[in-house]
Amino acid sequence: MTKIFILSSLSLVFVGLYGVLTRKNIVKILIALNIIETGINMLLVAFGYVEGGITPILQSDLSIANLDKMVDPVPQALVLTSIVIGLGTTAFALSLAMRYKDTHNSISIRATDEEGVNV
């Protein structure tokens, strides 16, 4: 089960990396980055997964008795944080991309940054 999680998230990472490497469109690059991001978040969660584990919430005495079966809560906490960071990155980069479109008149990452030269 964990293996499937890990493999699928790894494949997400690779798909994303492929996108970042080959795409020229900034928006596409950012989407690809998001895909990597998702992949890695899944990976982290998968790292903390325990076969047949239960949620790490103390709902009753029963759950306290099964503390050992709980999945690892730490990766989940980390993922929570990293999701927000991913959001921040995407949002910030998108806003920069808007400005980029404005200044470069293009959203290709190949557009030159030299002043006064058009695409």
């Binding site: 990396l17 970042v20 490497l21 020229k24 990452i109 190949r110 030159t112 940054d113 030299e114």
Partner: protein, 624 residues
């Protein structure tokens, strides 16, 4: 001991502080130079003086001390260079009267590094001073003008390159012998060569390369002409007389003892392989320097190549590894210092008055600048190694040493170079001072007093050292004795050769010369009166050149003076152009630079390169 180094430093700071007041700075400058000379004079013989400064820096497991000590050979170099420096600095006052920039700060730093190099006790101090001298020279050469930038850059890059090699050499030596002190490390190097020859030779060659770069020996012979051509004349006087010897000094105290006593295969039973390496470097420099000097049109470039050739003589003297050759080389160091200073002072005077350094645009200046002419004349006689003046003794000793060691190739190279020297020296004399005086220089005056006095002093010194070589040889032999060489203290006028019955008394040579001149003078006075006619009044086979519009300039035969001779050598010189090689290295670097800038300008492949970097790291990780 330390005050020798402190005084220039403090002077530097105070000059920097008073930079706006020229009078104050020059007074300080001269006073400091005078003090240094006096101090050097007073520590003569006190070979145990030393000073060390604890930096607290820890290396090789021990706290590290910077040290200076009164090294006899160093003293010898330092004293004479201080003397020359003082004379040049007097000259420089007059020379820089109208210039806007005040060079004395940089000069003082150079003098500081000068003393530091000669008195360094350990390699690190030596290296520090060496580097200091490198970049201060850069500023002294450019001197706030763009025209000398290319030459200065060339010099700087060579100098830094040499320093890099020196640092590697020092570090290797330090790492393998555990000491940085110069004398113990020489023994250490000997042991290294005996135990692991390859490493030892590499270290030695690294040192040697550094030193020959600074002394403009063969593969690196291009910088003097580039620098001298555009640099400020007073500074290049210092450079050509004193600074070019910086490479010689460490060779004398480090390379020569090591090469002389190392146990390596010998060639024809005359000398070991390294000796021949040094010798060939010297021989090639001597010959090539001479040939190139013959073909120059710029007088400063001409004398730049002449310096190359003279450095070649010194190396030839070293390569013989006999005491006569060694003495001769060290003697030639001082001789060359003196005569090059004299020559360059006159060149500076000419440039000061005419603003021209292309020889074929000058001519006939003897009418306007007789004192300069006389200094120059004595200078070139000395440079040609003609007896009553000072260049002769040392050259003679070197040739003696080479002949006694049966190093025939080197001896022939030496003779070739010194005969060729007549060619370029006379060419300079004829083109600058003799011949027709162009109209534009009719108003040129003799140099002012502050510049004339140093030139006069140089004349006196040249003659003095030429006739009484003991002035230099006595301190030299004393110093060598103090270091531990088996030498006799030289007498005042007699030079000892190494062959049978080879002593010459320069006093007698001088007397003979005087006798010859008296006899011919008598003849001259017996003859009928002569009448002085204007310069333009020449034999022209009945034609009137003025009528065809031939002016004095065109009536001078000074452009492409040795054209037939040059045509013989053109193919050879074209095929060994080291300059082209260096230039192409520079071009390639610039091309690369543009490429890299392009890479960073685009910046689109950042992630791709990032991944490639990761790949490289992965490669490192895979190979366990």
């Amino acid at each position: 001991m330390i005050e020798l180094l402190l005084v220039p430093l403090i002077t530097t700071l105070s000059i920097a502080f008073f930079i706006k007041y020229k009078r104050v700075t020059w007074t300080l400058f001269l006073a400091s130079n005078g003090f240094i000379l006096y101090k050097l004079y007073s520590i003569y013989g006190m070979w145990s003086l030393s000073y060390s400064f604890n930096t607290g820096y820890e290396i090789l497991g021990a706290k590290f001390n910077l040290g200076v000590s009164n090294n006899p050979i160093g003293w010898y170099f330092a004293f004479f260079s201080a003397l020359i420096t003082l004379i040049i600095s007097i000259f420089s006052i007059g020379f820089n009267k109208n210039s806007k920039s005040n060079v004395s700060v940089i000069w003082m730093l150079i003098i500081f590094s000068n003393l530091g190099i000669f008195f360094a006790k350990d390699w690190v101090t030596f290296f520090m001073m060496w580097e200091l001298m490198g970049w201060t020279s850069f500023f002294a050469i450019t001197n706030g003008k763009d025209k000398a930038l290319d030459g200065a850059k060339y010099y700087l890059s060579l100098s830094l390159f040499g320093a890099a090699l020196l640092l590697i050499a020092i570090s290797l030596l330090g790492a393998y012998t555990g000491t940085f002190e110069i004398l113990p490390s020489a023994f250490g190097l000997l042991q290294i060569i005996n135990s692991s020859t390859k490493l030892g030779i590499v270290i030695l060659l690294l040192f040697l390369t550094t030193f020959i770069i600074k002394s403009a020996i063969f593969p690196f012979y291009m910088w003097p002409q580039k620098v001298y051509a555009e640099g400020p004349e007073d500074y290049i006087t210092f450079m050509s007389s004193v600074m070019i010897k910086y490479g010689i000094y460490p060779m004398a105290i480090f390379i020569v003892p090591v090469v002389g006593s190392v146990n390596l295969p010998r060639i024809l039973n005359t000398g070991n392989v390294l000796q021949y390496v040094i010798g060939y470097l010297g021989a090639i420099s001597a010959v090539l320097g001479t040939l190139l000097a013959i073909f120059q049109t710029d007088m400063k470039k001409l004398f730049a190549y002449s310096s190359v050739s003279n450095m070649g003589y010194i190396l030839l003297g070293f390569s013989s590894m006999t005491i006569v050759g060694f003495e001769g080389s060290l003697f030639h160091v001082v001789n060359h210092m003196i005569l090059k200073a004299a020559i360059f002072l006159t060149l500076a005077a000419v440039v000061f008055r005419t603003g021209e350094s292309e020889m074929h645009k000058l001519g006939g200046l003897v009418y306007r600048m007789p004192l300069t002419f006389m200094t120059f004349l004595l200078g070139i006689i000395a440079a040609a190694g003609i007896p009553p003046l000072n260049g002769f003794g040392s050259k003679w000793m070197i040739i003696q040493a080479l002949m006694s060691k049966k190093m025939v190739v080197f001896a022939i190279a030496m003779i070739f170079a010194s005969t060729g020297a007549f060619m370029y020296l006379f060419r300079a004399l004829a083109s600058i001072f003799l011949g027709q005086l162009p109209d534009r220089y009719k108003e040129v005056k003799e140099v002012p007093l502050t510049m004339a006095v140093p030139m006069f002093i140089m004349m006196v010194i040249m003659l003095l050292v030429g006739v009484v070589p003991g002035v230099v040889m006595k301190p030299l032999t004393t110093a060598l004795k103090a270091v531990g060489y088996n030498v006799d203290i030289a007498s005042w006028t007699v030079l000892e050769g190494s062959l049978k019955n080879a002593t010459i008394d320069l006093k007698i040579v001088f007397y003979m010369f005087v006798a010859g001149v008296i006899i011919s003078g008598l003849m001259y006075f017996f003859g009928n009166k002569s009448e002085t006619v204007p310069q333009e009044d020449n034999y022209t086979a009945g034609e009137y050149p003025e009528e065809w519009g031939v002016d004095a300039d065109r009536f001078n035969y000074s452009y492409s003076f040795y054209q037939p001779f040059k045509e013989m050598f053109d193919p050879l010189l074209e095929s060994i152009s080291i300059d082209d090689l260096f230039a192409s290295v520079g071009r390639n670097f610039e091309y690369l630079s543009t490429t890299i800038q392009g890479l960073f300008k685009r910046g689109e492949g950042a992630v791709l390169l990032f991944s490639i970097g990761v790949l490289l790291l992965i490669l490192g990780g895979l190979i366990i």
